[in-house]
Amino acid sequence: MVSSSSSFASAPEFIISNNEVDNEIDILSKIQSNNSKLPNWGRRVRLALQTAKEIDTLHSSTPPVIHRDIKSANVLIDRNFNARLAEVQCEQPNNSLYTFTGNLILQNQTLPVSPNQLLLRGCSLRNTEYIVGVVIFTGHETKVMMNAMNVPSKRSTLERKLDKLILTLFATLFVMCFIGAVGSAVFVNKKYFYLHLESSEEGGAQFDPRNRFLVFLLTMFTLITLYSTIIPISLYVSIEMIKFIQSTQFINKDLHMYHLETNTPALARTSNLNEELGQVEYIFSDKTGTLTRNLMEFFKCSIGGEVYGTGVTEIERGIAERSGKKIEENISSNAVREKGFNFDDPRLMRGAWRNEPNPDNCKEFFRCLAICHTVLPEGDESPEKIKYQAASPDEAALVIAAKNFGFFFYRFKQLHCFLLRTPTMIYVRESHVEKMGKIQDVPYEILNVLEFNSTRKRQSVVCRYPDGRLVLYCKGADTVIYERLADGNNDIKKVTREHLEQFGSSGLRTLCLAYKELHPDVYESWNEKFIQAKSSLRDRERKLDEVAELIEHDLILIGSTAIEDKLQEGVPACIETLKRAGIKIWVLTGDKIETAINIGYACNLINNEMKQFIISSETDAIREVEERGDQIEIARFMKEEVKKELKSCLEEAQSYFSSLSGPKLALVIDGKCLMYALDPSLRVMLLNLSLNCHAVVCCRVSPLQKAQVNLFLKAIKDWWCLDFNYGALQVTSLVKKGAQKITLSIGDGANDVSMIQAAHVGVGISGLEGMQAVMASDFAIAQFRYLADLLLVHGRWSYLRICKVVTYFFYKNLTFTLTQFWFTFQAGFSGQRFYDDWFQSLYNVIFTALPVIIVGLFDKDVSASLSKKYPELYMEGIRNVFFKWRVVAIWAFFSLYQSLIFYYFVSSSSLSGKNSAGKTFGLWDVSTMAFTCVVVTVNLRLLMICNSITRWHYISVGGSILAWFIFIFLYSGISTPYDRQENMYFVIYVLMSTLYFYLTLLLVPVAALFCDFIYQGVQRWFFPYDYQIIQEMHRHDDTDTSRAHLLEIGNNLTPAEARSHAISQLPREISKHTGFAFDSPGYESFFAAQLGVFAPTKAWDVARRASMKSRPKIGHK
């Protein structure tokens, strides 16, 4: 077979061939492969001929395909050493990740190619040397690339609103110019003889009354330049400057967002979105790697009715801390701590288990951990250096646990060819089994593996001991295991169940372990059925399940394990804070409903005070329809169901919503339902519902049904994640479009890129995984918990500051321009400048520029610690309290008022003599006086909006006023011989020689700021903002220097007290579900890969319990 691709781009998409497609090409091998012997000469010639013929076929096709890379490595041969040419028919490139239709035509045989055979771009090889494949899509035609969005250029919502404001200002400018121009056209008249309006000299047309329309037009242009100061051009520059410093100096250098372990400070990759961080209402979070560390640790276990393990989980600690207790962890000196193992109980370690009440149980427990798994060891066969390759970190954690308990699984032996089905050996180095300190290597022969899948929710291994004993070890979810236990031993069952519930409610993932000795005869007869089932072509997996049922019964319970899916540090506290800040959090996870809810509890997203709506596709009704298998019918029925569910949830939600003190709402929805709910007809309903919910958990976001078989575990993960993000992307855009709310996505991996790009603000978790998420993100932080700092401190401040800067800019330019506008009315609408050119140019550049930047950098309403202590303050940003049209209108009103004061107070008394020598002021005296008043007032007004005044404020405000005086002293003091009108000469000295000037300078700013002051006083007194109350509450605090003190709340408790307290705080009602561990999506396919078995997922029924449990609750209310 000559691979018929035109080019091998760096990252193409393959279809891969495996035994599902065709058993024959399953064992195609490369001719140069070292393992196979070289063919004889006859065969070689035949191969060369066949190759030539196939190239000929290529060349004779239309259009001819030129194979540019013919070499022996590219010639593929089949089992019979025939070089083969195959034809691939496939669909056009598209962006649907989990559909693919194509045919592989090989020797007149047409084999269907489904998504299962497609490898997406970016997959990497693991645990296999090579694959044989055909490139289908390359470059930009790959599905992944077609799914990738163009990198959007993001602008903050506030800036977009600012654009509208600028447009409004342009409109105002136009209106002002229009009024002025009309006035000018009306004004011009021959009667003002001293103006010589009818003269015909060059440039005289502007005021020629004989052509009033021209007068109108020309004056319009004059006025546009005159009033152009209303457009705050320097605003954008100032904002950019402020934001740049905010991100490079404040966000990047915040010690509170520096993660010591990974040596990562926060990184603002764009400075555009700082203030957007202050208005985020929706957070979309990836789970794995973001909320959790994707690190499973063996944490506790229950063996024979006895709980072992003394640790306190993050959620317990979180709950305890929130209620003011402090848990002191006393880690004993001999505790073993490694990745995947966080267990401390001297009763089990170092063979001490021999002295426990039931050492046999312990032994079986450890053996089960060491044998019943599908983990592959890698590297050196020593306990320190070995590495375990596992489909799910849960499994690895269990094997590591066994290792630490003295049952070291160090070697795995299996013949390479799957088809031969040679026995698999597992070698375990057992310590302390026969007597303390004795170490022996025991080989176990693995006879059968009854693989895990989500229907079975258990995994069994039949193994033969070296002495010939046959034992079946089984581990799985508590429900399935309990159904299959032998009678008797009810005490242990009861106690263990209690333990399971306790583990589950602490956020741990549990598994039950059981075993059973098999009689050789029973086994043999069963094994025949098993082999038969395994080699059947139709309904293979159903038959396998049925066969498994035959042997997995009458099990003996050993105990249970509890694995902590480690949350990132501080996640529950952070989520709690964010929730209080009015931020609604969506967690998007590929987990099952149960686990998702568990994680929800663990990270404080959901609690028992919340009303939960669960929309799941795993109801009996839906499953029934699904059994029938008619796709159209399923789709229709699902849609109906989802609609019904949504409707009832929405009604209920609204009834809660209308009553003020109703509970908070949480929505749990699974991927399939989400898919239907995103249908345009239901979208509005989903949106309404989810907007009312404070927490939304989307689980099983990716429908995995179509992407199961994959030899590459990493690829599986990517696949899953990509699919999953396809869903996430839709969700993000939905909220972005529908609600006009600001969304933030946070994720850590390449799979989150599209989500990060789709949201208003993308945050990447930097440090652990690759850089893709970070590269696509706008902000990168090392830990999820820094989100609180990023949003509540930096974002909020930035929002406040930018709002202040923008409104202040608006105010100062409007005020300045309006004084000019009023003058126009009294200057014959001629467009005469009230102020000197230089004043006008330097007003924005020097006299008022710096202080506002200082405010943009330093203004703080409340300190960082208070910002986090009162997260509710953040809601002011979500509601956009500080940059509404109302706020702008208030500012506009005050600038109107102030400009009137400036103009009329200064000019109205310009008639009479201004000093004791009776001399009067001219135009430039009046305008300089007015300008002085404007500069002083506008700068003082800035101080009035400051919440905190540093010495930089004083310096900049004082400096700006001083700069004006220095400027005017120099400017009017120097008389140059050059081409310059000497209007301004000596003006300020003339002014300052009169007392009148000083009196005006005192009067005008006070009168101008009078109204603002009343407004601020009344507003604060009667309609205080939240931050103002907080300021008042903490006005005597001297806390600004340290935020750390807040962390030291609470008193000390003994671990036992803390634990019991924490447990008492745990959810009661939902605590019944125990969150079993094996639900990582890659899991089942790992088995498939191991055994060469294709195990398509059937609908799993975990959610049934979750949904069933929620039903009666709804009924109660």
Partner: protein, 344 residues
Amino acid sequence: MSSSGAAGAGSTDSTAARRNTKRPKYSKFTQQELPACKPILTPRAVISAFLLVSVVFVPVGVASLLASRKVVEIVYRYDSKCIPKNVTNKVAYIQSSADKACSITLNVTKHMKSPVYIYYQLDNFYQNHRRYVKSRSDEQLRKRGEENETSTCKPEDMVNGRAIVPCGLIAWSLFNDTYSFSVNKRNLTVNKKGISWKSDRNHKFGKDVFPKNFQNSSIIGGAHLNESIPLREQEDLIVWMRTAALPTFRKLYGKIEEDLKEGELINVTLNNNYNTYSFNGKKKLVLSTTTWLGGKNDFLGIAYLTVGGLCFFLALAFTIVYFVKPRQLGDPSYLSWNRNPGGH
């Protein structure tokens, strides 16, 4: 949580690892912990600010109002009175070369202390019109050698190809009514020296620049200038050239350096030459004394008193409200999330 920044900053160990760290350096700037005062606009602060303003403003207002009241000001509008009754076309009359002398009598209502300043006041005269303001040449006025710098003076720049000194519309339209005063047949001397700002006189108008070709064009805008007197000493021109800010303005004409007693009748003989009739401008003659504040200017005092009074009143009002409907500072029940729990 990360450790407090202050603690890390002072540590002295400097291993290689520490040097490689990306840990941001602590500074009060980057950690946004600059010392700051946090003013809170408490009711007390508001009330005291109001009181302070009123305490300062009321006395200042009273003082300036008193000063303004002390000024004696006689304003007499003569533009219509000085046209003979039989004249219908005022513009034609004023542009004619007839003798336009006119005599009016002013009654001194109150003792006027020397010096008494004489102003003329024009109304509806746009000295601040863009075309007017820029129609001058400062170079030309200042330096003898620059007399051809008339580019900015259009249309009154050249006459018969020769530069006009002083050029431009402002100079061209120089006010040319003249006044002479007598009390009981005794002429009062009008001192016209020192009526302009000294800076204008000394720096803007050259002592060796003499008028040339002035008012030689077909239309005569206003006064003629004595071509033998340098511009620096033509103070009427200097005053006129300091263009006014508003269309109603006063300009100093001269000063009478003797007291005018109450009840005295002042005969003013004026030459009503200046054309304000074409644009219906008023002309007024003003005699005024001055104080430290200048001429009569009630506005300033009233404004001060109003602001001061308002502040006092508001301080009072706020105090009453403060007692009637007090709001405890930092009352958590005012927080929005406490006001309507479960909202949004």
